[in-house]
Symmetry: C2
Subunit: 221 residues, 2 copies
């Protein structure tokens, strides 16, 4: 037993994982293996070890529950409404991660009963306050499109401007004007022409681009 | 005593309070009344009560230590390096607040030995990891200037574009081109002409502006 003079909360990390799959924005969820909310879908996450960094905990829990490794995490917010967990006071540090297509192979690892991708616009009632957290993450992602290069995290190494525009449209849930989109994205100075062309069937070939700084995950203008 | 099967961290909130004073960006600090780091300068903050919302805790601690009330808080980040506090594992949810001139009357309240404003570019070595937190807050504030109306929180009800530009310059630490600044700020559609003029001595009178949505603390383009 570990005893303290004052009551202490428990602290968890949770991760909202987004990707572009099936021509839509999708969300990675796990089915909980134990109570509370057993068999409910939830965000991957779990308790912080007492000597563990917060970021390390988020990565460990993500791997233990979904098998996913090597992603870039960004802190979204910390939630701590006193009644958000029926067991005890639990404060959760929430991260979000954006996965490109080559990292999509999630599998239910030992600590989850199942793992699956859902449309970010149509997913089940989740455990705890996780629905609110997903909404917040989606909102933050959409807001960041306007002032950062965050969407490049979803892209393969080489892509056309039309493909990038489609990613923006899927996140925002609305069509964008092609000319304005190109002007704005090129003015952010985050892309370089790759020299190659993509042959698009009946359309004329489109230029291929790459991120100028592929390791810079989130360039703010 | 409060006992748990697993070790639990303690959770605090801390607040980075900025204002524009003395023609510079300033930072509100308290002198710690007790150990650890007794008599060191630090961010106002303290432990979360077990049944208290995080935001409520930040507001309560700010009032208890500085007398400041009624500010808008925004979550900055949560820090939790395992060794950041010599007492025990302490995870801190960090907020930041921007104060306009009419809310500057801070006083050392019961829980702090002293309270004072410091230049945000020249302040003492702080307790815990608070220097790193202040740097992060300053960086976030500067980044937000480019895509949000956050700077309006520093302004009085009526102000000229030159006064607003000066606030940007003090935060960024660099001079801005007047014409580009005006073009960009007006394109954000967050200001309205107030009809009044400010007589600026030997300069010709300058138009006074107001925020279009004074209660909207942080309009992202």
């Amino acid at each position: 037993m570990y005893c303290y003079e004052y009551p202490h909360p428990a602290v968890t990390t949770d991760v909202v994982v987004f990707s572009i799959r099936n021509d839509r924005l999708e969300l990675l969820l796990i089915k909980r293996a134990s109570e509370p909310y057993q068999s409910h879908w939830a965000l991957p996450g779990g308790f912080v070890d007492i000597d563990e960094d917060l970021n390390a905990c988020a990565l460990r829990e993500l791997e233990e529950e979904t098998g996913i490794t090597g992603v870039y995490l960004e802190q979204l917010c910390t939630v701590g409404a006193p009644d958000r967990d029926p067991r005890e006071r639990v404060i959760s540090v929430v991260y979000f991660a954006l996965l490109s297509e080559d990292k999509l192979e999630a599998r239910a690892a030992s600590d989850a009963a199942a793992v699956a991708w859902f449309s970010a616009r149509d997913y089940p009632r989740l455990a705890f306050d996780h629905n609110m957290i997903v909404q917040k993450a989606h909102h933050r992602l959409a807001a960041k499109l306007s002032y950062s290069t965050i969407a490049l995290q979803f892209m393969p190494r080489r892509f056309t401007l039309s493909q990038l525009q489609r990613v923006y449209e899927l996140i925002l849930g609305e069509e964008l004007d092609k000319r304005n989109f190109r002007k704005r994205i090129l003015s952010m100075d985050c892309l370089k022409e790759d020299g190659g062309l993509l042959n698009g069937g009946k359309h004329r070939p489109a230029k291929l681009y790459q991120a100028k700084q592929p390791d810079r995950v989130d360039f703010v203008r």
